[in-house]
């Protein structure tokens, strides 16, 4: 570095000391930047961690709620299925019963012939 207009010419020692001071100040700047940068990064990581922890908590809660809901729905489905099967069973039984009754109530062929003959004779 040259202190162009203010440095007395030939004063090499002064110039050397100035350069040394400048170097130290420069190193100070670089170190300070690293300190601030690390501090910022730690802050940013902590914020990220806090956010992720909150997201994790929220997702866990959501997952638990969803799992409970799925279980409940599965139970409801099983109950419905059971009710449905029972109902089908009941209805089939009833159909069979009615078919039997129908068969029992149906008029026999000889009786229908007799009725027909009687009608014509009138």
């Amino acid at each position: 570095m040259t202190q162009d207009a203010t440095t007395p010419p030939g004063d090499a020692e002064l110039e050397r000391l100035r350069e040394e001071i400048a170097q130290v100040r420069h190193e100070l700047l670089v170190n300070r930047d690293q300190v601030i940068g690390s501090d910022a990064e730690v802050g940013r990581v902590n914020r990220d961690l806090t956010r992720l922890t909150q997201e994790l908590r929220s997702t866990t809660r959501k997952l638990r709620r969803t799992t409970e809901r799925a279980t409940e729905l599965q139970q409801r489905l099983a109950r419905s299925k059971k009710r449905h099967d029972e109902q089908v069973q009941r209805l089939r039984h009833r159909v069979e019963q009615l078919e039997g009754e129908l068969a029992a109530a149906r008029t026999s062929f000889p009786r229908r012939v007799v009725r027909s003959v009687r009608r014509r004779l009138r």
């Binding site: 570095m1 040259t2 400048a22 100070l28 700047l29 300070r32 930047d33 940068g37 940013r44 914020r47």
Partner: protein
């Protein structure tokens, strides 16, 4: 229903809504009343101060509602005293912890008080809250949303931006003397400035809680509807500067309601302007020039400050003739610092700062030309306020369109809002003509105190070319200082318009690693900052790049 209490112990606060009334159209007043009665938050009292209305139906309307809701109170003035006297009567009668300022023809959103109550609950020390606002026309349609910045005391000097809805701690309003006579039309600006001086915490609510009715003759419809108001506003800002010990003069701004702060810089303060250069030349306004020489010439010509040091950090290939010319222009104010390493802008600036002897540092590119008089005073003097860590300037391309009017960090990117607006445009809400707090400024022209520069470690040398100024701005805010963009410090910046695209992904990642991904900007919100890019201009640039033989667009004449 009656208000449950006069103050707050643990429960929600009691709000005193203050409304001076003078001859509003009754149907409009009814709408205002309906908007208050619809509040979700129930703890309020409403003091309507009739300022001797000539229309008897006004008082009759208020009385009818008063009989239906005991929270409504009517004060009747015998003589018309105008808005200041009427508002002060209301404030004197207020029993709530916070006063809410509502005009007789405007509308609150149903959640207005509830949102304020929630934020008051979150911050025990809050003294002043303001929200975003929009306008409502005669047909009830809302438009013109003003998305406001977070608390910006410097911007408040340039314009009354907090406006509606303003909610202030009652004890503080009384402590500062409420509204002052003689500031009619800008009485709210005057009050906000005085409140801002003493408030412990000011909170911005980024939600529209207030619809400002645009009727002929009102300030919401046209900012120049009340010319007397801008004169009162100028006086209010000048009073504020005098009270707070800021050596400055207030001028009227580019449009009514905007104010320019012309600052004084202590002549005893040495300012070091640090400029990195390779001594290159280029054609500007049709003439070849050595960039750094003209930058130095213009910076010295346009300041009256007596103690300016110019520190030029030059790469060793810089021609000797350029250095000679610099010595001629700057004389004994010049300090030359040679640099013989591979290009690293950050390191060059740090070496310049180390060599500088001034208490204030101005960081300046060599491809600039100062346009405005007293640029240095206006740029550097805001740093007298210890809360301010950095200032930046308004830069133009060679055709006088805006190149830089602050940085805004949002939507995962670092941006230059208002690019390509013209020099005479004020911006969506005065952003281009008033000083204001911002998230960052370009280091092409910026100022810092030496103390702050060293406290934050200057530029990070891990970023040799791009985003080092973004990182620097983050650092300044990290140590608790604000950044102010100065509208009346103007320079040409003869930068390539397309240079920004050359940033590498790792450079951006280096900033993100330290500071995270930017989401929305606190001072220049994305709703305001969205770049208004003229596609024809971009196309013109691309054509010029693809075929340099095509006639270049005409440059603006030198001012």
């Amino acid at each position: 229903m009656t208000p449950s209490r006069t103050g707050r112990d643990d429960g929600p606060p009691l709000f005193s809504i203050i409304t001076p009334v003078f001859d509003p159209p009754v149907d409009v007043l009814e709408e205002t009343i309906a908007s208050v009665l619809a509040q979700e938050h129930r703890d309020w009292e409403w003091i309507l101060v009739d300022d001797a209305s000539t229309d008897p139906t006004v008082v009759a309307t208020i009385t009818r509602h008063m009989l239906g809701d005991p929270r409504i109170r009517l004060l009747e003035r015998d003589v018309n005293g105008h808005i200041v006297a009427a508002s002060n009567d209301g404030i004197a009668a207020a029993r709530g912890e916070f006063v809410v300022l509502l005009d007789h023809d405007d509308l609150l959103t149903p959640d207005a008080l509830a949102v304020n109550a929630r934020l008051i609950d979150e911050h025990d020390d809050v003294d002043y809250l303001y929200s975003d606002e929009d306008k409502v026309d005669a047909r009830g349609r809302t438009y013109g949303r003003f998305t406001k910045p977070d608390w910006s005391p410097e911007r408040l000097r340039g314009q009354m931006y907090t406006s509606h809805l303003s909610v202030v701690r009652t004890s503080l309003v009384r402590e500062v003397g409420a509204f002052r006579e003689g500031y009619d039309g800008s009485q709210d600006h005057d009050l906000a400035l005085r409140i801002g001086e003493v408030a412990r915490r000011v909170v911005h609510i980024p939600e529209v809680l207030y619809h400002w009715r645009a009727v002929a003759g009102s300030t919401s419809a046209a900012i120049d509807a009340k010319p007397y108001a801008t004169v009162a506003g100028q006086r209010a800002v000048q009073d504020h500067l005098d009270r707070t010990g800021v050596a400055a003069r207030v001028d009227q701004g580019a449009e009514p309601g905007r104010y320019v702060i012309q600052r004084e810089l202590d002549p005893g303060i040495r300012v070091s302007v640090v400029i990195p250069t390779l001594g290159q030349d280029a054609i500007v306004f049709g003439q070849r020039r050595v960039m750094v020489v003209e930058a130095v010439r213009s910076l010295l010509a346009r300041t009256a400050h007596p103690d300016v040091e110019v520190v030029v950090v030059h790469d060793t290939p810089t021609p000797a003739a350029v250095l000679d010319e610099l010595r001629e222009v700057a004389g004994d104010r010049l300090v030359l610092v040679p640099y013989d390493k591979p290009f690293n802008y950050s390191e060059k600036m740090n070496l310049g700062a180390v060599a500088a002897s001034g208490e204030r540092l101005v960081l300046l590119n060599d491809d600039v030309e100062v346009i405005s008089e007293r640029w240095l005073e206006n740029l550097v003097a805001p740093l007298d306020d210890p809360r301010v860590g950095m200032t930046g300037a308004k830069l133009y391309f060679d055709d006088s369109t805006v190149q830089h009017a602050c940085h805004a960090y949002w939507g995962s990117h670092y941006r230059h809002p208002f690019r390509f607006w013209t020099r005479d445009e004020p911006g969506p809400f005065g952003e281009l003509v008033v000083n204001r707090e911002v998230s960052g400024v370009t280091a092409a022209c910026a100022a810092m105190t030496r103390e702050t520069y060293f406290e934050v470690g200057g530029f990070t040398e891990t970023l040799p070319s791009n985003f080092n100024d973004v990182d620097l701005c983050y650092k300044v805010r990290h140590v608790g200082r604000s950044i102010v963009w100065v509208a009346n410090c103007e320079l040409f910046h003869f930068e390539s318009r397309t240079r920004e695209g050359r940033a590498e992904a790792w450079e951006r990642y280096a900033v993100v690693r330290r500071w995270g991904i930017p989401e929305d900007d606190a001072f220049t919100p994305s709703a305001v900052a969205s770049p208004m890019i003229d596609p024809h201009r971009i196309l013109r640039e691309r054509i010029r790049e693809a075929d340099p033989g095509v006639r270049a667009p005409a440059a603006a004449p030198q001012p």
